[in-house]
Subunit: 373 residues, 4 copies
């Protein structure tokens, strides 16, 4: 029986602090603020350690939504999950994607397929010395299971994208661990982002049975043959626990949207992008997709750790001027933007253990033009 | 009658000073050093004012080729045109493309179509105050006409790519003009690269009849509706005149290669890339291109000057951390790399007056598997 | 008769959104929020066009101060001037400096000298096509005169620092001017920052009689021999008018602080920094400044436009990886930080027409240990 | 008995490939090319992994010097040590310092003090997995002892600067180690530069008795209280062994130059710079240094690893746009440039185990105006 409906809206932004588009849709009744479960956004910072556009965007959204959900601004994050991915390199365009969920008394008739569903969960707070290690993997796996249940998804194959926001190390946090006599997995803030993303992705892979349990600390960022095909993890300075958002299709959802995915095997895997579009009934570059409209694409990008893409050397990992994550987002954003016909897509950097080395998951959400819609 | 044969080889490099691949092919007789007319390369610097990888690469090539062509190193540039485009962002891979030309006594039988031809010419040296202005436009137009004649190309429609290397302004050059009582078009070295590229491209458009004559100084970087569909211009600190290389198909060529092109209307114009590949008989992403093998793609990329790509805001022009040309190369390189199946493509930044605003030309060279080859 | 008292407090921040230090001082009664007139801050963005740390800091301060001044957050800026200078390169440390002013019934006895005073004024909103041109110069000059009056300063020699916040051009603003048939002084957002800063500084010079009136559009960013010795101007995307803050010494002030200044003639002018410190009774690098305590230093930095510093070439203007303003702030911040013994100093980039070419003003505020204090 | 004479000349360069200044001095007989022992240079790249200005400068110098020393270009490095430090941020100015040494039959009379001496040695080639670990420390210590002997320096206290050039890890080198079943100390090329610099500096400290022997792998980049007061180490992609250059004063030298040093305890330690100048009889900022002329200053800079400089937070370590080494060079270069009166000083980044955390050694070479000179 279909008991929930999930909505998805993509809204362009004019800056990290721009909430006018969202407020406009709330005022016009197109978005019910009380139904908002999660907001994923691309903001225009560097996507690195000192990217304050992420926390600025979250602060602006919390302040804007507070009166609409009847909470103090600093409590809004306890109700709505915000995942801001910094970095709109190249053609990538700043935007937010708003996910809503509400219970419905009666589902529209005639829905044959499983439809878009969303579920959420959080881990406990981590100690700095736990980041990038097995504690983070295990706690994340537990949270993924909880989020699947929350989404009404029972089978791993129906999970198409798991977005996780995870912490990073700062000088302060490294010092704190050190003061306790513990060493962190790295002392570099920038490197810690990779460790945290990697461990979180391995947690997804464990939860979905993509890899076996028993991953050890030393496997993180070393055994890249271990990965999840649907994990997308982003590190941010603004939190000290993991937030897990599961997106998939569920028989309990009466949503007018569907989600599908594919896996890019390298950063130039055009075929995988085309496959992801096809999985939800779309044809790349075509406008003649009768009855189905692309809402957004969610993908992860990374510089191939072996320094090559299909046999040709890339220079992303050895560039001291531009971080490898920025390079990778720009390139993959260019490819997906070209095939999707829009730069307002969610391409996030740092795909450690998210898809095969140098590749990453790519998911597409489509609006289905039901008669019943 | 076919009187010349033109060869093209793409060689990956391990760094800007790496000449081992080229020397290896010379030693094995695959390249006749005396037949080398031009070398186009992608080097891994920032592609900006202080990108010394371009002059380093040229210096290394001159030193390496000197004994093979019987010239002192500093005279090699008088014989061979070197065009190094800096910037291998994202998946772009450092490489050089070597063009050779030689007279032939007897052409292979059975060549029906026009085949790849190459011609070259140079302008006189420019004064700093002439850069980005009508003097540069007019001199460039004259040189394009000369280069077409050199290539044995009589009709503009057979010209598929015109690569130009042009100068930029430095503090010294601005001072020199100022000391003469003249002002340069800009005092910023970085901005001057755009002016020089733009004026050079307008010179191509004039020569090929793509626009009418009578362009004025103030049209440069302002009237972007004036452009060439085949011009590709790169600014470098190492020269003070323009070097023009015309690539096209000619009935006088007995080359085993063909060239074609299309025009990208924006940075995500996947259709144009597919069209360029189709123009030489290739199918995007396919390996089943029987009898035809892609040698390289040559394209220009730029950040749309109006700040949007298909209606969505991009952030390339307002990023103080990464120059817009690097963003654009990364994105377009990702798209072309995906459709061509390789990051070792020549994508060069700064497409002012080269293709429509935000777009640029894209040319493809293919090897045709003639029986006679 | 002394009728006002001016206070100055420097507060370190842990990030652009950090207001805890300020709120703590308000709670402890050390700062009266209703007396706050201006807050100058150094935030840790890139100081360029896309530096959102400035508007984020202002948003956070407005939200934090709103309940304390009895205004809605978006109205706080109408009462308090916020000038956030982005860029804490090298040893520079993020902080804010809070200026308060209140009327006093009875001045402390025994004040012989003029004491710190502050005054403010604003220009009207500018059209994009007015930026960097004579309209901006003239309106700024008027505002400086108003701000001096507001500060109770009657003689230009008592003005030691004039901080101005001015607008910049964005793609949108350039388009708007273009739609009106007007051209802006530049189409580059980054370049527009220099034009706006330069015109604003010339406005100060006109107001203080440092240069003659009648400056023309074409003098801006060309005739660098025209400059103010006390102007400090910063461009930001968040406003479309100029905000003028005059700091000087006044007989009407009963403040426990004094201000003095000197002019750096180039970026390595250690003597000028020492002179500025001496002008308020301090000795560089010494802790034995009995009775006088440095509060903060305010300075402007720029890359010498002729490409040299005392005869040696610098590379700041030709670096495509790091903007010249970041280079200059880092270097001058290192020098001032060394002589002042602290990196928490206000060194702002882009000193066009602020001090001689390649140099800039440097002012110091000191707390005087009066018995009466 | 004085048996050798050492010369030092500082020559500005116009670019990484500029050898005209050096060749001019050779032609004019001011430098005897056969006496050149070492050339230390500042080049204008990013100082990071992909800074090709270093190898370009070395290639240009080898090509230029080859005919003068009667060797093939690729053999010049076997005779002359080249240490190019990339990064001329802020006021730092590209230049080279040429050290010559020759035997003399008869020393000038009246030399009372020890004078400048130079000695060199090299380690064996390292395996990638040895970098940043005890093997590199031990081999470096041995080479320092050899270089002291070569310089005719018998006491550690007479050693004032030990410049080392050391390797870094690249993707290829990490792969090579991995293929042998070994792991490298890091997989990041950028991080490997810090490890290599740190281990090399610890080697100096061991050789000079500044710390005790028995340093373990895990001490590198962790126990920062272990350091050398005179080590200066630079990592470069162009070599796979360490080159050690010892500079000090020796009774066996009849050089007209002297060297002295001090230790900066943090990046704003103006007192230490003044002390270093005083150690060779110079007064900071003064031109009245009768009879003594500054030739150059050699210093190391780094971002304080604890995130603070004298209690104020810096942002260098958490900046994803500009590497911390660039920030630190810019700031320390500004301070030293100000106190020395010139930006043409050798300030090199990455001071791991070179001076106390956040600080570094600073040495000055002065020309003494002997009657006998």
């Amino acid at each position: 029986m279909r008991t929930t409906s999930v909505g998805v809206v993509r809204i362009p932004t004019k800056g990290p602090g721009d909430v006018a588009g969202l407020l406009g849709m709330i005022e016009q009744g197109e978005i019910d603020p009380k139904a908002i479960l999660a907001i994923l956004g691309k903001t225009e910072g560097n996507g690195g350690v000192n990217d304050f556009t992420r926390e600025y965007a979250v602060a602006a959204l919390c302040t804007a939504l507070a009166p609409h959900v009847g909470l103090e601004p600093h409590r809004v994050e306890q109700r709505i999950a915000f995942v801001m991915s910094g970095g709109t390199e190249g053609v990538l365009s700043p935007h937010i994607t708003v996910f809503t969920r509400k219970s419905i008394a009666q589902a529209p008739a005639g829905l044959a397929d499983k439809r878009l569903s969303i579920g959420m969960a959080q881990t406990r707070d981590f100690l700095p010395e736990e980041l990038g290690r097995s504690a983070q993997i295990e706690e994340t796996a537990k949270a993924v299971v909880s989020a699947m249940a929350d989404a009404g998804i029972t089978e791993p194959k129906d999970v198409h994208f798991v977005q996780i926001k995870c912490p990073l190390l700062t000088s302060d946090r490294v010092e704190a661990a050190s003061a306790r006599g513990n060493t962190t997995v790295t002392t570099s803030a920038y490197s810690s982002m990779a460790y945290s993303r990697g461990a979180s992705a391995l947690g997804v892979a464990v939860a979905l049975g993509e890899i076996e349990e028993g991953i050890r600390d030393q496997d993180v960022l070393r055994r890249f043959e271990l990965f999840s095909k649907v994990a997308s993890t982003s590190a941010g300075i603004e939190l000290i626990h993991n937030v897990v958002i599961v997106l998939g299709n569920s028989a309990s959802s009466a949503s007018p949207f569907e989600i599908g995915h594919a896996v890019m095997h390298d950063a130039i895997d055009a075929a995988a992008v085309i496959e992801a579009l096809a999985s939800v009934g779309l044809k790349a570059g075509s406008t003649a997709n009768t009855g189905r409209e692309l809402v957004n694409i969610f993908a992860k990008a990374e510089a191939s750790p072996n320094g090559n893409v299909r046999g040709f050397r890339h220079t992303m990992l050895e560039d001291t001027d531009i971080s490898a994550t920025r390079h990778a987002r720009a390139a993959v954003g260019g490819l997906i933007g070209g095939l999707a016909g829009s730069g307002a897509v969610y391409v996030s950097g740092g795909a450690e253990h998210q898809g095969p080395p140098g590749g990453g998951p790519v998911a597409a959400i489509v609006r289905v033009a039901d008669d019943s819609d």
